[in-house]
Symmetry: C2
Subunit: 268 residues, 2 copies
Amino acid sequence: MNLLVTLDSKYIQPLKVMLFSLFTNNPAENFHIYLMHSSIKDNEIADIERFVNSYNQKLSVIKIADSYFQNAPVILHYTKEMYYRLLAYKFLPKNMDRILYLDPDILVINPIRELYETELDGYLYAAAFHNILAVKKINRIRLYPYKIDAYFNSGVLLMNLELQRKLVDEEVIYSFVEKNRAKLILPDQDILNTLYSKQIKCLDEKLYNYDTRYYNYYKIITNNACDMDYVMTNTVILHFCGKKKPWQKGYSGKFYSLYKHYEKKAIS
Amino acid sequence: MNLLVTLDSKYIQPLKVMLFSLFTNNPAENFHIYLMHSSIKDNEIADIERFVNSYNQKLSVIKIADSYFQNAPVILHYTKEMYYRLLAYKFLPKNMDRILYLDPDILVINPIRELYETELDGYLYAAAFHNILAVKKINRIRLYPYKIDAYFNSGVLLMNLELQRKLVDEEVIYSFVEKNRAKLILPDQDILNTLYSKQIKCLDEKLYNYDTRYYNYYKIITNNACDMDYVMTNTVILHFCGKKKPWQKGYSGKFYSLYKHYEKKAIS
């Protein structure tokens, strides 16, 4: 399976925890990890490579030259890395048909193959949207006049690279960013949702992009079906969304002990 | 390492979770599990044995005949199993010098060898006491006139079998129970604390018998040193004390997600 990650040095530890959880809960699978970056140091790359290889998995590093996104508009507080996810198809092997992008603030706690093999006929992506009412409403207003039916989370993104090569256009993205600078909060996610949301296949967030802040919410909307038992048996991806991260001091949350246990196993 | 467990059919699932956590976090160790029981069915025993053997570990079953504790006094709501832990030395191999008793409502999340090799010179047991002030005070009043310096928890009990053969007397225990029927709440633990507390070596509860109900308490009394990071790195035994158990519906607690994750891995 092909996996894409894009990050800077600050996220190397979380990346290792994510990969460790992926590897240990998918022991019979072979993964090829593609790491896109612009600023990670050579010794850090070597460290990541050793880590990946120690689980008999493969790492390919794609370093993006500073010059590449020279003409791309940037937005305050955001770097050009925001384009990596959307334009990854340009840097990946030309014969690759699909890849699964994963954020590093994730734990993979169950087999991932079914997600990876999701049928993508005619879709550019598969992703989950976080079905919190308030979030949906705010985004609909914020991104008006673009019609947003669902606001997809871009932290877990299965990519149809073949179709992207035909349909995703760098210049369209740049001009969208130029035109909507003031409105964009999470630029890559906003671009995805305004330009491509009709071509995103919807995944069940409870299985593939479970927002760890909303344990009680998921339980309520499913009449208690989505309890801890359900999550541990069925959920594949726990996503530690939000500003507070489980590797930071003072974090608390329903999945804190689980995260820290994986962190300890991954890093010690 | 020799491990002792005593249980009835209701605790087979938790036992498997406990053993799974022990085995996976001590991958290079050989364990010999001694299971003392009176009522577990043959097919259940066979199932436990298959489970233990599947991790290349050894199980010995010690079935206690109903007739054995015929003359022992029983207390309302408690069965004769309450004596198993205290008198285990009578049923274990005569040449065994030590064994570690573990409750089934436990997760072992780190290497256990250091606990197992605790120096026991002159002590009958090693155990941790739960240092909650209110608990200590209540027990001191309840068990008066017996002097209780510390109220040890009997859920994790390292046993000096050699010394027990010399010093622990069945008849002394029985007559203590006869005399104090009305006072005893957790009989085996009460017996341990009133008759033998001077001969119990004290273990650090934060390492070897961490009461999962008291995460915030442990943090406060250590000025935040005993946070989730500390627990995952140092704590060996998480003990899910109290009436609410993590395998029951409606449980919640800091270590719920971790427990359920282990449960799923152990049982599916």
